[in-house]
Amino acid sequence: MTEVASTPRLSQAALALFDLVEGARVTHLWGRLGWQDIRRRYRRSTLGPFWITISMGMLVGVLGTLYGGLFKVQATNYVPYLTLGFVIWTLVNGLITDGCTAFVGASNIIQQARLPLSVHVYRVVWRNLIIFFHNTLIFVVVAVVFSVWPGWTGLLAIPGMVLLCLNGVWVGMLLGAFAARFRDVPPIIASIVRIAFFVTPIIWMPELLPNRAVVPMNLNPFFHVLEVVRAPLLGEVPGAVSWLAMIGMTLFGVVLTFVVYIRYRWRIAYWV
């Protein structure tokens, strides 16, 4: 059980791979740290993490009424669409913006204990999934009220979620490392994500655009991210383009991140 605490550069690839795999294995650690983050936020509040659910419910209630009227669309179609859009976007937004602080936010742990660095990214992904599942309760309520039943198509949301989470992992790794090295990455990312929210069909529907060619939806990666989870839950099959785009993004991102990780993983402890 000789543990090599550092090795020649040659085996950096093996170390990077070990980091990712070993990090994924210690579910009990990042599972606990992720929950701890949630509980810390809501400790001593009576409703605890259900405040996440309630605030999402209020948001959807108010915006559903307001924009439904503004766009002159049927509440039966619009409110479930808006709810899912918000719920998924909250996850996407959390994965990206929290991903930026995955390593910097865990600097005290990184500098004290030898743990796979990926643990901190899995923690961020898990924390955001917990929030996501609290938010999905609102969709359940909305689905009952507007009698939305996706049927078997709804199961397609599972591969959609898997792809979304895989992307969350590489984005967290990459942005986490990048933001540790360059401290103005988080504000840049935050502003890009904010713009993406308005450009992506979340509060508006693509059908509402007067000239659909104006915005080439397929070029917006966030559209596909939402589509592969939202469409199945509304009983529609996402387009092949969306699946291909998601698979392509996942492969591209994982390879890119792995290459960066091979080169810079060992530097992260110095940067945080």
Binding site: T2, A5, P8, Q36, R40, R181, Y270
Partner: protein
């Protein structure tokens, strides 16, 4: 239990990059590339601080090593290199044996979580399985002597109480290698004595203890060997008494 713990640090050099606010921004890197190096001149010649310079240390089981040196001599960095936190710029580190590092008393201590919850979190951070921590919780709780405080959130703890918690968890799973930084600076006399006894038991089981401290009396009592660091270089190694004198 494995009896031959060892740490070999071989010609290790550690440089810390110093990024001031200017250098850590993309803007500056961008300006630098955009202007051929005139405006953002600082971005090119990166400033580094050499924390360890060609350090070699070999520790075998049974060694009780005190790391001595002035502030900024590289003691903590060496401990972190031994713990595997920092991978050196040059050189290699081989470590053999289950390692616990008590570098920061408040590692993983969550202020709003109770003492018991913190025992679990910290145990997991040290690499224990949840069942292993559960098995030892009663023993850890007893050792801390914190009693009912363990059911209270950690923000009610004094720094000495936090140290008790941290120390108890770190030493509960019989590590073969124990790395400690400036320990016992906050414990009260009763607990310090208790902790010292536990360390002695540990050392008798022939593990490796590495202790960085400024406290010469403590080092003489606990350690046999010494390593004197000065400005990142090993100035002297040998019996602790001699090393302390050469400082």
């Amino acid at each position: 239990m494995n009896t031959d713990a060892s740490i070999h640090v071989e010609s290790v050099t550690v440089d810390f990059p110093i990024y001031n606010a200017n250098m850590r921004s993309i803007k500056n890197q961008f300006i630098y590339h955009g202007t051929g190096g005139r405006v953002g001149r600082g971005a090119g010649n990166r400033l580094t601080v050499r924390a360890l310079d060609d350090v070699s240390v070999s520790l075998e089981h049974g060694d009780r090593v005190g790391i001595v040196g002035h502030n900024g001599a590289g003691k903590t960095t060496l401990l972190r290199v031994m713990a595997g936190v920092y991978e050196p710029v040059r050189g290699h580190v081989w470590r053999h044996g289950r390692t616990a590092s008590l570098l920061n008393v408040s590692l993983g201590i969550d202020d709003v979580a109770t003492g018991y919850e913190n025992i679990m979190t910290r145990g997991l951070l040290l690499g224990l399985a949840p069942e292993e921590v559960e098995e030892r919780t009663a023993e850890i709780a007893e050792f801390t002597e914190l009693g009912d405080y363990l059911a209270m959130p950690a923000h009610t703890y004094s720094s000495g109480m936090r140290f008790r918690l941290g120390f108890a968890v770190c030493t509960c799973f019989e590590p073969e290698i124990l790395l400690m930084d400036e320990w016992l600076s906050v414990g009260d006399r009763h607990f310090v004595e208790k902790a010292r006894q536990r360390l002695e038991e540990f050392v008798e089981r022939a593990g490796i203890l590495v202790l960085a401290s400024q406290n010469a009396n403590l080092l003489k009592r606990v350690c046999t060997k010494g390593v004197l660091l000065d400005a990142g270089k090993v100035k002297a190694t040998g019996p602790i008494g001699e090393v302390l004198e050469s400082d």
